[in-house]
């Protein structure tokens, strides 16, 4: 009797939890349908590719942020660390003339090291994530300006670097199917992130820490070290975003980057990941990032001024989190 009762609760819960995933995806589809009807320019191959391309950088940043947010933490430094990674890649390739792959590895490592340092400050020194990563945000911003001498670094000598995000591997194979590599990288990163979060031991601990850090610690899990690892993973994704960014602009722009972290967090939150930790999916974050860029793109096509676009995005964030709260209260 009791078991059947519990089973009833479970199936109801499963439906509701699946509903949220559907809700985000449904909103995305609705937005696309709405803009397609509102303007004939929206549902064009080139425009859709443009949306995907503009999602790539923020999307990869949001993927990384998902990891720390699932632990119940936050990373405010991903925007400027991304810039620092761009700059370091520029230094390695354009200034020191090292091979392109070395520059890429160097850029990725820069991100991982920054994440590692944030993790160290949080897990070992006990500094709250908000503060530790705020400090890292400033440090990375400053370093990017110092190292580059406040000037952009151009990759004019190495055209292959530009191909990294602007070229189209798919277009070369299937003529006319010109999806830029940046989009491929974004989807590849999403698949890797999803596997990491749902299939590996890091992901499992990630949810355990976010769900109840103290209980996890008291189960003999070395929570400190795992947190450092998780912040490093976020840093690694940030490095990927940095290289995509540099390749897309064919230059490292040291003054960019501030504010990207908030857009990344917004994408994660719209995707249904809880800021209090323990809940979240990579697919949700991908959808969240897509919702944000579909919205900006569609509003631009409808000639809504950019200032107003930002206002709309703000309301969408409120709406998304409120819908999520409603669901949680019921569950």
């Amino acid at each position: 009797m009791r078991i059947t009762e519990i089973a009833g609760v479970k199936s109801k819960f499963a439906v509701q939890s699946g509903l949220q995933q559907l809700l985000a995806f449904g909103s995305l589809i609705l937005l696309i349908i709405f803009f397609s009807i509102a303007s004939s320019n929206f549902f064009q191959f080139s425009n859709l590719v443009g949306i995907l391309l503009s999602t790539a950088v923020i999307g990869v940043l949001a993927l990384g942020s998902t990891f720390v947010i699932v632990t119940g933490g936050i990373d405010l430094s991903v925007g400027t660390v991304m810039t620092l990674c761009s700059v370091m890649t520029g230094v390695f390739i354009a200034m020191w003339g090292l091979p392109v792959w070395v520059g890429i590895v160097g850029g990725l490592l820069t991100g991982a090291v920054c994440g590692f340092m944030s993790g160290l400050a949080i897990a070992r020194l006990g500094i709250p994530p908000f503060i530790a990563t705020l400090a890292m945000m400033m440090i990375a911003k400053g370093l990017a300006l110092v190292i580059s001498g406040t000037k952009p670094i151009y990759f004019t000598e190495t055209p292959v670097f530009m191909k990294l995000s602007q070229g189209s591997l798919l277009g070369d194979i299937i003529p006319g199917f010109d999806i830029p590599n940046a989009v491929l990288v974004f989807f590849l990163a999403a698949i890797i992130g999803s596997v990491l979060l749902s299939r590996t031991i890091v992901g499992r601990y990630n949810f355990a820490i976010g769900s109840n850090e103290e209980a996890t610690r008291l189960s003999g899990v070395n929570v400190r070290n795992w947190k450092i690892a998780i912040y490093s993973i976020t840093g690694l994704f940030t490095g990927v975003a940095g290289i995509l960014m540099a390749s897309r602009l064919n230059s490292a722009q040291p003054s960019l980057g501030m504010g990207y972290e908030l857009e990344a967090i917004a994408a994660v939150v719209i995707g249904g990941t809880s800021l209090s930790g323990g809940k979240g999916t990579i697919i949700g974050t991908v959808i969240g990032a897509l919702i944000m860029s579909v919205l900006t793109n569609g509003l631009r096509i409808l000639s809504v001024p950019p200032e107003w676009q930002t206002v709309v995005v703000g309301f969408v964030i409120l709406l998304a989190v409120y819908a999520d709260n409603l669901r949680r209260r019921k569950a």
């Binding site: 590996t200 949810f207 008291l218 003999g220 070395n222």
Partner: protein, 502 residues
């Protein structure tokens, strides 16, 4: 002097399946100190929470100053003049003494949105002076000693013109001279005609300052007696009661030949634990008894590495180990089951299989850190079957399981990790009677299989039923050790548990 302030009669209270108060009564006269005593879980706090509006009674009447009243919430109690001083202090550490006392009723200037700090400090100074306390009203509370903070809390309560003051273990954190100061203040309040309910486990104190004593046991009223007419032994006997339930004592081998699995020497944590030394044999259940605040949980957490220690050595299988965190304790085969399952024991929002595997996730890891979910599912299924956990499946979230089944999953977590030393902190707290017996059986089986168990419990029948040997703690010290033979009794344990050192 003999005017009755409060009369509670026929109070009934049920919590989900638990009959917490069974027709209880209590009365308080103006100008008296009335002790309310009983074992943990006897219903003292519940009774007082009914009086202060934290809980609502199911049945019964409360008469306050000859008028029947309905106390629906804490504000109503406050308005009537019933105040409570909790065991944990409720002061805002960064505010001043005056700000704390007047919180929520700050004096204002003529322009209502401006605060009148001068007036507030002046009134506070008067209150402090009345109580003969030498504290500056503008001192931040964080700069005061715990004892002074407690006195500030009392002044805060009487600043509401409280006629009834309930003190829950007010001396738990105080030194002897500080206790003297508190008692002086209590005497002053008595003179003013305030009635004081005094909840304490310390028998010697009761003799010193209370006028009457009411004893409760298992949610029922036992008796009210005048303090001067009764001996401490008699009170303890009333608290423990006659042994209606005769515990079946474990038949056991002599402990001398037992292989020592765990040995603790001189474990000390400043102000919390003092020179704790004991050993645990293979297949032994060591019961740890004591009252709330005796340092039992702290001892367990110190051994498990959850809290830092200042001194002491821990030996596992005769080998000295350094435990600086739970992950090291677990490596040495020590598992800890917290008394607070929800916060420290399990991941309520996660499923059964993750909770079962949490302490041993590394063993389900294969190539590149991928989780071997098939093997994990197999092991969890086995645990669910072995421990007879009632759950629709291993994918069920833990929050939908009953307390007893959650506890089984946590036991399963340590079994999956192959821990052979298990520390159970209140293993049956919040678990209904049927499930309790299952947990008892499980503990006995584990010990028979050669696991060594430390069982902390506030329920003496539980201690006497399961333990091979019993340690009794009081105020961060081990005050007694006894074999669980025919000499062991609830009375003896309680005598050790109320032993007071200064």
């Amino acid at each position: 002097m003999d005017q009755t302030l409060v009369r509670m009669e026929g109070i009934e209270k049920h919590f989900a399946g638990v009959h917490a108060l069974k027709g209880c009564r209590f009365d308080l006269r103006a100008g008296e100190v009335h002790a309310l005593v009983g074992e943990n879980g006897a219903g003292k706090s519940t009774m007082m929470k009914v009086l202060t509006g934290v809980y609502r009674k199911d049945e019964g009447s409360i008469v306050y100053k000859d008028r029947e009243v309905q106390i629906t919430d804490t504000r109503a109690a406050q308005k009537l003049g019933i105040g409570m001083i909790h065991q944990e202090l409720n002061l805002a550490q960064d505010l001043t003494v005056a700000q704390n006392i007047f919180i929520g009723k700050e004096p204002r200037k003529k322009l209502r949105f401006l605060l009148d700090d001068k007036e507030m400090n002046k009134q506070t100074a008067i209150l402090l002076k009345q109580m003969k306390l030498d504290i500056d009203p503008t001192t931040p509370v964080s700069e005061l000693t715990v004892a002074k903070q407690q006195l500030v809390e009392i002044i805060k309560a009487i600043s509401y013109d409280s006629q009834v003051l309930i003190m829950d273990e007010p001396t738990a954190a105080l030194s002897d001279s500080e206790i003297d100061e508190l008692f002086r203040m209590i005497a002053q309040l008595k003179e003013k005609g305030v009635g004081i309910v005094y909840i304490s486990h310390r028998m010697a104190e009761l003799k010193r300052i209370t006028d009457r004593i009411t004893v409760m046991r298992d949610g029922a009223y036992i008796d009210t007696v005048a303090t001067k007419d009764i001996s401490i032994d008699r009170i303890i006997a009333m608290m423990v009661g006659r042994d209606i339930y005769q515990p079946t004592r474990p038949d056991r081998q002599t402990s001398e030949q037992m292989e020592k699995v765990l040995e603790v020497r001189g474990l000390t944590r400043k102000n919390v634990l003092h020179d704790i030394s004991f050993s645990l044999g293979k297949g032994e259940i060591l019961g740890v008894a004591g009252l709330v605040g005796a340092g039992r949980t702290e001892t367990a957490r110190a051994i498990f590495g959850a809290d830092p220690i200042d001194a002491g050595e821990i030996y596992v299988h005769g080998r000295k180990v350094r435990v600086t965190g739970p992950h090291q304790a677990v490596k040495n085969g020590i598992g800890y089951l917290s008394e607070d399952r929800k916060h420290y024991g399990c991941l309520l929002d996660m499923d059964v299989k993750t909770n079962v595997a949490l302490a041993a996730l590394g063993r389900f890891r294969s190539f590149l850190g991928f989780m071997n979910d098939k093997r994990l599912a197999r092991v969890s299924d086995q645990i669910v079957e072995d421990l007879r956990v009632k759950t629709p499946g291993i994918n069920q979230k833990l929050k939908f399981l009953s307390g007893g089944n959650q506890q089984k999953i946590i036991i399963g977590k340590w079994l999956t990790r192959d821990c052979d030393i298990l520390i159970f902190d209140e293993p049956t707290r919040g678990i209904d009677i049927g499930a309790k017996n299952e947990i008892y059986k499980l503990l006995e089986n584990l010990a028979a299989e050669g696991k060594s168990i430390i069982m902390i419990s506030s329920e003496l029948p539980e201690i006497l039923r399961l333990s091979h040997r019993i340690l009794v703690m009081c105020e961060g010290r081990i005050t007694g050790e006894l074999m669980n033979d025919h000499h062991a009794s609830q009375e003896r344990i309680m005598t050790y548990a109320t032993d007071r050192f200064s």
